[in-house]
Amino acid sequence: MSLRMMRAVVALAGATVLTAALAACGDSDSGSGGGSKTLHVLIGANTQYPAEQQAWMKSTGETFKTQTGATISWETFASASDELTKIQTSVVSGTGPDVYSIGTTFTPTAYSTKAFVTLSDADWQKIGGRDKFVPASLGISGPDQQHQIGIPWVSRPFVMAYNTELLKAAGITKPAATWDELTQQAKQLTKPGQYGLAIGYKDNFDPWKFIWGMSTQAGDPIVDGKTARIADPAVKKAYQTYFGWVTTDKVVDPAAVGWTNPQALAAFAKGNTGYFPMTSATAANTLDAGALKGKWAFALLPTVPPGATSRPANGVEAASILSGDNLVVADYSKNKDLAFQYVKLITDGPAQLQMYKTFGVLPQNAEAAKSLTSDPKLAPIVEAQGKSVATPFTGAWADIQIALTNAVVQSIPDLAKGSISDAQIDSRLDAAQKTAQSSLDRAK
């Protein structure tokens, strides 16, 4: 290699690096050029039905194109954290997807960024009107009727799954309707090689749903205005019941202290557990694939708090958290009208029923939902959807959720040892109360 060539190589290398730093277009998603518009949509990746999701995206894109002449550019996120990151980067830079599909429990957080369109009455009309949707579903669209950002899209209410054979063998005719009844039935169902309940104690999301459910049913909504009510007898009872299943009642497999929800589901699917609380319709596939085929059914989660035979006066019949996906439109979007057209398309009856058939998610479209009540297998799920109650709508909810879960995480070593004292529960609740309150204080 001659000297000159050598210089050239180095110069080239340096230039390449610089060019890389400066290179603009080229391989980004084909720039929206010329006339046709593109709508950017962000949805969650469906690992259960990947091929079906691809097909759905394609057919929806085609329908949309016929209707509006614009194409849809799809983007998927892998997990809740992924989505949160996406929201953050988009909000801070003012660029990103036009329409987001976000979990209902994230809607308050999204709302607090003020980066999403607050739907006016006119906007609702563009989508088809508020009445189009199951009334309960609007509970987590915003803090109140005048400030709504979320459009209900699909519903995944939480229910209980139970083993029909095991219950029959134990002489239980109806699934439990109160938490006490559940504990008692679980004891009946527990014998060597068999357990009453499958619980995922180590799941990052499950524990707080139990606590919230039991507390709300007892009249404690966890957040009261600007006050956190965690160091409260109702919440304490909830934790005692939840922990008690594995420590004192011993109706749960001791290994469950290490289980996430999927592991608990897998354990239930093996066929030797009576109940699997805190699951949703998407488990149906897994349950039918294993040893449990044909021997299981869904039921409503208990709606009477532990320690009572009927709900107190200020208790709420919360059969499930308001769970599912909402659609939100970004404030920075330059295609808001297109976005609303897209939203209308996928919240109309036919599209909603199609999604139910393909993915097993319940429609939030009122008419579509009603048409499904005739299916006996679905009845408990639709009932749960109707009796879903929204979690407190505050920007601090993410922190509160984590605080409630943290109390469980730090208690796991005690659960494994087989006992947890009231004093310990108290101290954990106090810690949670503190963090929750400080988050609420910061909420604007």
Binding site: L18, V91, K202, A255, G258, G395, I412, P413, A416
Partner: protein
């Protein structure tokens, strides 16, 4: 800055020697040629890149730590209120110091164990034999596998009813809880060791290649046995690369987020709430960016101090003549 001005070099005939005894610095000869023809312009490409992609964001992150940036102010972050050291004082109240302590101790222990493993592996694959290529590739596998896969696999194996406990039970030992409680700290170390030792192995491997052929022959001529030869002749060659590897490995352990996150989830058990976890959770789940930037900067500073002390003490950055002492 004495070291800056001189370029001592080993006298001819002794640069193959690992010991200091044989070396005579040839005084401070001014190297006329190199002093005048310093191609400093070659530093430009790297310098520009690093200033642009690391320097600027770092400054920005510094600014973020001084403002009240959370989900409520994220949208108009340029107008977020300036709160000076507010974030920093809050950072110290959130158990940050405890987390940093866990991180640093875990990192140091992990490095201490992986270093001999890596060096042993390099030595063992130095001499050619049939199948050595395969063995070398096998050794690399833990480092190649994505971090979250490694963590998922170990998480599954360490379940209360997982394979590890089952095997231990067969030998009559109760495994107990690996992923919560006091043992979780050691679990983290164990898994990190499994995943990260090939790093030291690779660096030691490169270092071993710089050993001259004659060194081997000479010590054979001298009739040196394998252990003294290894200890006094070969290992000194590895000093530089391996010490550097240990330094970088420790830093990477301290900043390793994926492994504890997937192994233990968030929120994490107190015993294993390492610094990257607390920063990530604060930033990406709690959406308190200002606070987490402050936390990260505090930990950065706390780590930088011993770091530079280490560098100075080992003279890794200034010692540049011939073989390391």
């Amino acid at each position: 800055m004495i070291d800056d001005r001189t370029t001592t070099r080993a006298a001819p005939g002794t640069s193959g020697d690992g010991t200091a005894a044989g070396r005579e610095p040839v005084g401070r000869r001014r190297r006329g040629v190199t002093q005048q023809q310093r191609p400093l312009w070659l530093l430009a490409p790297g310098g520009i890149l690093m200033t642009l992609v690391i320097g600027l964001p770092l400054l920005l992150a510094g600014y973020l730590s001084l403002i009240d940036l959370d989900q409520y102010t994220l949208r108009r972050w340029l107008q977020a209120p300036f709160i000076g050291v507010g974030n920093f004082t809050e950072a110290f109240q959130t158990g940050l110091l405890h987390s940093i302590w866990i991180s640093v101790s875990f990192a140091v222990i992990s490095t201490a164990v992986t270093a001999p493993l890596g060096v042993a592996a390099a030595i063992v694959t130095q001499n050619a034999y049939r199948g050595r290529g395969v063995v070398r590739a096998i050794f690399l596998i833990p480092y190649v596998l994505p971090s979250f896969v490694v963590a998922s696999v170990w998480r599954t194996m360490l379940q209360p009813d997982g394979i590890v406990n089952t095997l231990l039970a067969k030998v009559g030992v109760t495994g107990g809880l690996w992923l919560s409680g006091p043992k979780s700290y050691w679990t983290l170390i164990l898994v990190e060791i499994w995943a990260a030792w090939p790093f030291i192995y690779l660096m030691a491997l490169a270092g071993l290649q710089s050993v001259d052929g004659e060194v081997h022959e000479a010590s054979a001529l001298d009739g040196a046995n394998w252990w003294p030869k290894l200890r006094h002749v070969i290992l000194p060659y590895l000093r530089g690369p391996v010490l550097l590897a240990c330094l970088l490995a420790t830093l990477s352990h301290i900043n390793n987020f994926t492994l504890p996150f997937v192994l233990f989830g968030a929120p994490a058990p107190d015993d294993v709430n390492v610094m990257p976890m607390i920063v990530y959770v604060t930033s990406f789940q709690g959406l308190r960016f200002g606070l987490s930037a402050a936390m990260a900067i505090v930990s950065l500073l706390l780590i930088a101090v011993p770091l530079f002390a280490y560098l100075r003490a080992l003279r890794l950055d200034v010692h540049e003549d011939g073989r390391a002492r």
